[in-house]
C-alpha cells in the first residue's frame, strides 16, 4: 500500500464529486432526506380509523355504547348504516376499515350475561387498522360489560374480588408507550447510512463507462489503493450524515439519545467502512453503472430495509435468512444505533457488534481486491 497513491486517488475522487454541484448535494443530503421522509411515515400514530356501525337494536343501551365508542379521537364514525349490504359495500370500497354490528338482542343478552352480542368485521387487507379498531372497540365495550357484570355479580351475592383474574403488571423498558418510532427511527438510520455504498458501487463502473479506467490500470497503482481510495471520500460524506442525522432525529422527531456520542461516531465509522466495502464488491463485478445500480439495489438497499431486523424481528426469520442477516452490516449497526439512542448502552455491550462490523469490512475489501484484476478482461 502506498499512501501517496491512496491520497492521489482520494483527491481525484473528491474533486470529481465536489465539482458536480447537483451530485454533491444529492450525495450529501439524500440519507438525511430519506430518513426524514421515512421517519415521518412511521411516526404517524394510528388514529381516526374509519368505521361504520349497524345497530339492529337501537335502544338506549346500544346508543350509549355507540357514543362511548365514537367519543375519542381514535375511531371515526364514517357512517351509521341500516343494512348489511351497506357495510359490505363500504368495506369493499375501502371507505371503512372495520364495522361494528350490534345484534338485535343486545341489551337482553348483556343483562343476562349470555355473552356480548356484537360482531366486528375488519378489513383483513389492513390488519393494523383493523386490529386497532378491534382493540379500541373492545376496550369501550369492555367497560360497559364490566359495569353490567359487576351488577350481576352483586345481584348474585358473590364477592366482587373473586372474579378478578390475573393482575398483569407490564413494565416497558426504554420505550414506555411502545411508540414504534422510538426504535424504528434509529433502525432507519442504519438503513439510510448505507446509501453511500450505492454511490461507491457506481464509481468503478463510472470509470469503466467513461474510459478512464484503462489508463488507470496501466499505471503501477495497486488494487487496494485504487479501491480504498475510491471509498474514502464516501466515508467522509457518510460521517457528515452521521452527525446530521441524529440531530434531525433528536430535534425534530424527539427521539431520546442517551448514549455516548463519541462511541456512536466511532462505531459508525466502522459501519461505513463495512458497508462501503460491500458497495465496492458490487462495483468490482459490474461493468456498467446501470448494472451496478441494479445489483446494489438488490443486495444492499432492499435487504438493508427488510432483512436487517428493523421492521421484522430476526428471531422470527427462517434460519437461512437469519444467517444472511448476519452478513449484512446493517443488522449489526441497527443494534448499535438502537442501543445508543434508547438505552444508551456503552462499549461494554456494543463492542461485539463493532468487532463484527470490522471483520465484515475487512472481509469485503479483501474479496473486492481479490476479484478485482488490473486487467481489462
Amino acid at each position: 500500500m502506498s499512501f501517496r497513491h491512496l491520497r492521489a486517488v482520494t483527491r481525484k475522487e473528491i474533486f470529481h464529486i465536489l465539482r458536480d454541484r447537483m451530485t454533491l448535494v444529492l450525495v450529501l443530503f439524500t440519507p438525511t432526506i430519506l430518513l426524514f421522509i421515512m421517519a415521518y411515515a412511521i411516526t404517524v400514530d394510528i388514529r381516526q380509523v374509519p368505521i361504520a356501525i349497524l345497530d339492529y337494536e337501537r335502544s338506549a343501551i346500544s346508543r350509549s355504547l355507540i357514543q362511548q365508542i365514537t367519543a375519542g379521537d381514535d375511531l371515526e364514525l364514517f357512517s351509521q348504516v341500516d343494512s348489511f349490504d351497506e357495510i359490505e359495500h363500504l368495506l369493499i370500497q375501502g371507505e371503512i376499515k372495520a364495522a361494528l354490528i350490534i345484534d338485535p338482542n343486545f341489551s337482553s343478552d348483556l343483562f343476562s350475561l349470555r355473552g356480548l352480542p356484537i360482531q366486528i368485521i375488519i378489513d383483513g387487507t389492513e390488519p393494523q387498522s383493523g386490529a386497532y379498531a378491534v382493540d379500541h372497540i373492545a376496550l369501550r365495550a369492555e367497560e360497559l360489560i364490566n359495569i353490567q357484570l359487576t351488577r350481576q355479580i352483586q345481584a348474585l351475592g358473590l364477592d366482587l374480588d373473586s372474579i378478578q383474574p390475573i393482575d398483569l403488571r407490564i413494565r416497558t423498558w426504554f420505550n414506555p408507550s411502545l411508540k414504534p418510532r422510538v426504535d424504528l427511527v434509529p433502525g432507519l438510520i442504519s438503513m439510510v447510512l448505507g446509501l453511500p455504498a450505492l454511490s461507491v458501487a457506481l464509481t468503478l463502473s463510472h470509470e469503466r463507462e467513461h474510459g478512464t479506467l484503462e489508463q488507470l490500470l496501466a499505471t503501477p497503482i495497486s488494487r487496494v489503493d485504487l479501491l480504498f481510495g475510491k471509498m474514502i471520500p464516501y466515508i467522509f460524506f457518510g460521517l457528515l450524515n452521521v452527525i446530521l442525522i441524529p440531530l434531525v432525529a433528536i430535534a425534530w422527531f424527539r427521539i431520546p439519545f442517551n448514549g455516548n456520542f463519541l462511541l456512536y461516531f466511532a462505531l459508525s465509522t466502522i459501519f461505513l467502512f463495512a458497508i462501503l466495502g460491500l458497495g465496492t464488491i458490487v462495483g468490482v463485478f459490474m461493468r456498467t453503472q446501470a448494472a451496478a445500480l441494479a445489483l446494489s439495489f438488490l443486495v444492499i438497499f432492499f435487504p438493508g430495509f427488510f432483512l436487517t431486523g428493523i421492521f421484522f424481528p430476526i428471531a422470527s426469520m427462517p434460519e437461512i435468512a437469519r444467517l444472511e442477516a448476519l452478513a449484512l452490516p446493517g443488522t449489526h449497526y441497527a443494534i448499535i444505533t438502537r442501543g445508543v439512542f434508547l438505552p444508551g448502552v456503552g462499549l461494554d455491550i456494543l463492542w461485539p457488534y463493532g468487532v463484527m462490523l470490522l471483520g465484515l469490512g475487512m472481509a469485503f475489501i479483501a474479496i473486492a481486491a481479490l476479484f478485482f484484476r488490473k486487467k481489462l478482461a
Binding site: A8, K12, F15, E214, Q215, A218, T219, P220, A377
Partner: protein
C-alpha cells in the same frame, strides 16, 4: 546490433477472445530506440497487441519480455517503465490540466522536484502552459490528445506504447504531436505506435503490418515500398468517373485510387499499360493531363499487400 537485448521480445504471443483469436502467434523483436509503427485494417489486432504488451490483458499463449520483465509472471513490474496511451484515453473531465498531470505524476512516484520540472516542461512541450488551470473537458480535441500524451510521458518511460494517438486530431496539432515524438525518439525513447495514417507509418524506423492477428510484414518503410509489385501512374482525366469505370477492368491494371479528380493507377508495367490506358481514354473522347509516373507510397504498398494476402 544483436548484442543489445531487445526492449520487447515476443514468441508466439497470442490472445484469444470468445469468438476469435485477436493476436495470432506474434513473433516480434524491438530494439531500444526504435520508432516502430504498427499498421493494419480494423480488427487486425493492433490494439490488443498494445494492451498485451502494457500488461492489461492476459496472455492466452506464447510469451513476451517487456523492458526486461516476463510479461506473464510480472505484468505489474512492467508498468512503471512503460507509458501507455489508450486509444480512447479519457482524461478526468472535472479535473484541470494541471490536476490531471499531477494525478499521474503521483501514481508514478515522481518526487517533488522531478514532478515540478517534468510538469512544467511537458506543459511547455505540449503548448498547454497557459491552459493549465482549465478543466479537461473544456479543452479542444487536439489539446486533449496532447494532454493525454503528456500524462503518458510524465514519468519519462523508456518505452512508449501509443494506440492511434493522433486519430481525430487536426493537422497542425498532429504535426506538433509528431515533433514531440521525434524529439523523444532522438533522445532514445523506444516508441511503439499504432496508426491508421500511412504518412505516419512512413516516419517510423520500422513498420509492422498486422492482418487478422498475424504479423505479415515487418521491415523499414523504404523496403516495404520497394517491395511493392507494380508501378504507379498518375493521371488527371477530364471525366474521372467515366475513366475509372473504363480502366478498372483493363488487363494489367492492379488497382486504381481516386485523388480528388486524379487517378492513381497501379499497373504491372508503365511501359506496357500506359499506352493502353491512353488508347482507351482517347477512344471514349476523354481528355487527360498531368500524366506522370510517381513512386509508390505506403498506402499503395499496404493495400496491395492486403490484396495479396486476401487472394
Amino acid at each position: 546490433m544483436n548484442s543489445i537485448s531487445p526492449i520487447i521480445l515476443t514468441q508466439g504471443l497470442s490472445r484469444d477472445f470468445k469468438s476469435n483469436r485477436a493476436v495470432d502467434r506474434l513473433d516480434i523483436s524491438i530494439q531500444p530506440g526504435e520508432l516502430f509503427g504498427i499498421v493494419g485494417p480494423d480488427g487486425a489486432g493492433k490494439t490488443t497487441t498494445l494492451r498485451l504488451l502494457a500488461g492489461l490483458l492476459d496472455i492466452s499463449d506464447g510469451s513476451a519480455q517487456v523492458v526486461g520483465f516476463n510479461l506473464k509472471k510480472n505484468p505489474e513490474s512492467v508498468k512503471p517503465k512503460v507509458g501507455y496511451m489508450a486509444q480512447e484515453f479519457s482524461l478526468y473531465a472535472e479535473l484541470s490540466v494541471l490536476e490531471n498531470l499531477t494525478f499521474f505524476a503521483e501514481l508514478y512516484d515522481l518526487d517533488k522536484n522531478q514532478m515540478r520540472e517534468r510538469r512544467d516542461s511537458l506543459l511547455e512541450f505540449a503548448g498547454l502552459t497557459e491552459f493549465k488551470q482549465r478543466r479537461a473537458d473544456k479543452l479542444s480535441g487536439g489539446m486533449q490528445k496532447k494532454l493525454s500524451l503528456a500524462c503518458t510521458l510524465i514519468h519519462n518511460p523508456p518505452l512508449l506504447l501509443l494506440d492511434e494517438p493522433t486519430t481525430g486530431v487536426d493537422p497542425i496539432s498532429r504535426r506538433e504531436f509528431w515533433n514531440i515524438l521525434t524529439d523523444l525518439h532522438l533522445h532514445g525513447t523506444t516508441i511503439l505506435i499504432s496508426t491508421p495514417y500511412m504518412d505516419e507509418a512512413d516516419r517510423c524506423t520500422r513498420v509492422g503490418l498486422m492482418y487478422q492477428g498475424r504479423l505479415v510484414e515487418c521491415a523499414p518503410p523504404h523496403e516495404i515500398r520497394a517491395n511493392l509489385k507494380g508501378e504507379l501512374v498518375e493521371i488527371t482525366p477530364s471525366d474521372w468517373k467515366q475513366a475509372l469505370q473504363l480502366l478498372e477492368d483493363l488487363p494489367g491494371i492492379i488497382a486504381i485510387q481516386t485523388y480528388g479528380e486524379s487517378l492513381h493507377i497501379l499497373v504491372n508495367s508503365v511501359d506496357e499499360q500506359l499506352p493502353e490506358i491512353k488508347n482507351v481514354l482517347h477512344k471514349h473522347d476523354i481528355k487527360y493531363q498531368n500524366v506522370r509516373q510517381t513512386s509508390a507510397r505506403m498506402e499503395e504498398a499496404f493495400i496491395s499487400l492486403i490484396r495479396q494476402i486476401e487472394a
